[in-house]
């Protein structure tokens, strides 16, 4: 493999891995903040126990999101120096804003929340977790603004003197039309993920308690319903924002839309295939289960709308971009099987989550509990499905952008670092991959270990004023 392929693999590995933890962090901080607010308002001990329980699980997850995030901040410069120099005038600012406005807020107030149970007044302690959540949402906003520039570069001019893209209109960059649909889609996806996380884990305990006639059935039922409602409402939002996203994508990245279906010839009333057997290279695909006109509807809002096909788009791109070394590419078509399947897997995982959330809500209505073996499987799968959906969605988005690094402006090939050897990338990639793999094993085992005992009874936090200086801390490293 050459440096380009290695750099791409490295970015894919480190970013997909990092993003396994991010949506949980964004979403669960909100859910914990809400649970703690319930406790604060009602004094119901169940909500305190749930807050502390999910707080612990969240911290186990957050640690990995945090440490792998550092790699993200630096790897643009490390592996993509020509990209960094070319777009830095535009792309750097959202990253700097993210650190200044979001990361400080998130990490400082998380420290206060974790260590502050007995050292902060109750209200300030509660405000801390809300600020952590606000920090995560800011973070999502800025990094997605940066990514949206890569999907649909706006607010810039090319300066031939300096040979780079330069900022023209910062507001246009921050409120890029791709950003306006991507940001809600991703953040709602995070709430859906978090709702499913809470629901799944609580469901597991609810079933156990129901089978053992345990004392905490009502607490876990509350948690199941809370998680399921969040997951269901958020997933409806994901669906709506995703639909609008499809239309924006058809407009700014028609090739990605064509690649989502493997549609080679331009046509009106294009169908959407649920599944296909055979090759997707345009020669032998045999769709099974096709919905007539659905692709046109997803892309244009009309079942008879026209969707441009891969062949026409390839010819047009070739004519438009083929002569400039920075935009020339043998093919302007992404890897179709990747876009096709990731698109479907994303949607499938999302719909299944919705179904499970709705089933759980129905089953736990009134005094309902779950006992059958099927629910154990649902409990295990519900937290995993949205995490997978997030990954599939991003893989679709990023693979679908290829061969572009910045759509229409710079190919991935021309953005790779000047001075980095293949050996260097091999070394770092092997180290990261082994390390990330080992940490994933440790994390999962720790998570399972902490899930087992459930939301055990806890003492109500003391007022800091009543605390003696040499008393043991409620929480300590």
């Amino acid at each position: 493999m050459d440096v380009l392929d290695l750099a791409r693999w490295q970015f894919a590995i480190t970013t997909v891995y990092h993003f396994l933890f991010v949506p949980i962090t964004i979403g669960v901080t909100a859910l914990i903040a809400i649970m703690q607010t319930f406790w604060h308002r009602t004094g119901d001990d169940h909500w305190l126990r749930l807050t502390k329980f999910f707080g612990k699980l969240f911290m186990i997850n957050f640690a990995l999101g945090l440490v792998t995030g550092i790699v993200q901040e630096f790897q643009f410069g490390m592996n993509w120096s020509l990209y960094s120099r070319f777009v830095g005038d535009i792309f750097g600012a959202p990253l700097a804003f993210e650190a200044l406005l979001a990361f400080f807020l998130e990490s400082t107030f998380l420290g206060l929340w974790i260590f502050g149970w007995d050292r902060l007044p109750k209200k300030i302690h509660l405000a801390s977790i809300w600020l952590v959540h606000i920090g995560t949402v800011f973070s999502a906003f800025f990094i997605l603004a940066a990514n949206s520039f890569m999907q649909n570069p706006v607010g810039y001019t090319y300066n031939a003197q300096t040979n780079r893209a330069e900022l023209d209109d910062f507001a246009a960059v921050l409120f890029n039309k791709v950003q306006l649909v991507t940001f809600p889609h991703v953040v709602l996806g995070a709430y859906m993920t978090a709702g499913a996380f809470v629901m799944g884990i609580a469901l597991y305990h609810l079933r156990k308690q129901a089978l053992d006639k345990g004392p905490d059935i009502s607490m876990y039922r509350k948690a199941v319903r809370f998680g399921a409602i969040v997951a269901l409402v958020a997933s409806i939002g994901v669906l709506v924002s995703g639909d609008v996203q499809g239309k924006v994508m058809t407009e700014v990245q028609p090739m990605k839309m064509a690649a989502a279906e493997g549609l080679y010839e331009t046509r009106s009333g294009a169908p959407f295939s649920i599944l296909t057997i055979g090759s997707l290279d345009g020669t032998a695909a045999r769709p099974i289960l096709e919905v007539p006109g659905l692709l046109s509807f997803l892309g244009t809002g009309s079942f008879s709308g026209e969707i441009q096909g891969i062949n026409d788009l390839q010819a047009a791109d070739k004519a438009e971009f083929g002569n400039n070394p920075q935009t020339a590419s043998a093919s302007y078509v992404p890897v179709i099987w990747m876009t096709y399947w990731n698109f479907r897997l994303m949607m499938g995982a999302g719909f299944l989550t919705m179904l499970f959330a709705a089933m759980a809500l129905w089953k736990t209505r009134g005094q309902g509990v779950v006992t059958s073996g099927m629910w154990k499987h649902i409990a295990i799968w519900t937290p995993l499905l949205p995490v997978l959906a997030n990954s599939f969605g991003w893989i679709f988005t990023e693979v679908g952008r290829q061969p572009w690094l910045v759509n229409g402006l710079m190919t991935t090939e021309t953005g790779v670092s000047t001075s980095v050897s293949a050996t260097s990338v091999w070394i770092s990639m092997i180290i990261y991959t082994l390390l990330y793999g080992a940490l994933a094993v440790v994390e999962l085992r720790l998570l399972l270990r902490y899930i087992q005992p459930g939301a055990v009874p806890v003492e109500a936090p003391k007022d800091p004023a009543d605390r003696a200086d040499d008393e043991p801390f409620v929480f300590a490293y």
Binding site: L66, I70, G111, L167, F170, R449, A476
Partner: protein, 358 residues
């Protein structure tokens, strides 16, 4: 240097400030991590000693527990600000110092995981492994930041890219970075952070560990002072400017003053001494660097100047507004955190280990 705009100078200074924030804050986190096996060790023997050793380690870790993550954000902000304000600097530096930076990232990852996970399972093996991660991670990060930052200032093989207009690249490898002066830089950072960490522990704890930390900080401080003088002289001889000389003198005085105050038992002043020393060492570094982003060591190369590396005035203006509004807010709430956790910690504050599952 006259072709630099005020905005470019402002951003050069702000990036220096971000590095000061990072090194002066995360510096004591690294110090605490490196000192874990040394200051953690109890004076008692046998089973009581083992229990006391564990309690001392936890006291140390809890001095930085609520704040280390916030401290680390300073480097993310420094990186982001370099990207936004001087993209060519970010691009040339981060791709050029590739493996060194990758190792720093690995060090920061294992250290961070250690801090977050060590207390989560009540097992000696588990703790021993994460202790190793924390200590080696802190040491490696401290050493490599020293080597890396010294290389930026002292010079590296930089040349314009013949194939891409406007691009500069690093024409070397990992071993190019291991010159004598940069290695002294690495050791100086390690020594400085050990001292800084020891004074921090002395300031934030109570009991025998407090005395031990103070005594150790005085020793490491004296060794560091010798290394720091050699390092800063070497840099000044090659790239000296008025600012870098002033930074050098203030850093040296602050370090010696801090050590002196430690001998008098004034821990707050001792910590302030190492804090100011780190801050002015960074001033010396950036003073020597100006008006370059990365000076070259190649006869046929070219310095990467700040002017050549910089973003447009428009980007710099937007960034300046953001920095002017949000930096004071960040300082306020981060400073407040230190106030919330201001009380000294002793082994009495350490709760029983968490027992979850089997």
């Amino acid at each position: 240097m006259s072709d630099l705009s005020t905005l470019q100078i402002v951003w050069f200074v702000l990036i220096a400030v971000l590095w000061i924030g990072y090194l002066a804050l995360e510096g004591f986190d690294f110090g605490v991590g490196m000192l874990l096996p040394i200051l953690g060790r109890s004076h008692q023997k046998g089973a009581a000693g083992a229990a006391d050793t564990e309690a001392r380690k936890r006291v140390m870790l809890n001095t930085i527990g609520p704040v280390w993550d916030g401290n680390e954000v300073w480097v993310l902000t420094a990186g982001g600000a370099m990207f936004a304000a001087f993209p060519q600097w970010y691009a040339t530096l981060f791709s050029g110092f590739y493996l060194a930076l990758a190792l720093i990232l690995v060090a920061l990852i294992v250290r961070g995981m250690g801090l977050d996970y060590r207390h989560k399972v009540d097992s000696d093996t588990w703790r021993k492994r994460w202790d190793l991660a924390i200590t080696t991670g802190s040491f490696l990060a401290a050493l490599l930041w020293g080597v890396g930052l010294t290389n930026i200032v002292y010079g590296s093989p930089i040349r314009p890219n013949p194939d891409v207009k406007g691009d500069y690249f690093f024409d070397g490898n990992l071993f190019t970075l291991l010159g004598v002066v940069p290695l002294i830089g690495g050791l100086t950072f390690v020594g400085l952070f050990l001292t800084h960490g020891a004074f921090f522990i002395a300031l934030k704890t109570d009991g025998p560990i407090r005395q031990d930390a103070r005594a150790l900080g005085i020793k490491t401080g004296l060794v560091t002072a010798v290394l720091a003088v050699v390092l800063l002289l070497a840099i000044n001889v090659r790239h000296g400017s008025l600012v870098s000389w002033i930074g050098t003198v203030v850093a040296a005085v602050a370090l010696l003053g801090g050590i002196f105050m430690a001998t008098k038992g004034r821990e707050g002043w001792a910590f302030l001494g190492t804090f100011v020393c780190i801050a002015f060492a960074v001033v010396a570094y950036f003073g020597a660097l100006f008006p370059n982003a990365m000076p070259t060591t190649l006869a046929d190369g070219a310095d990467l100047t700040l002017a050549a590396a910089s973003s447009t005035p428009k980007t710099l203006t937007i960034m300046t507004w953001a920095a002017a509004v949000f930096t004071p807010i960040v300082l306020l709430y981060q400073g407040w955190t230190y106030w919330v956790f201001r009380k000294r910690i002793s082994t009495k504050n350490i709760p029983a280990p968490v027992t979850v599952g089997k």
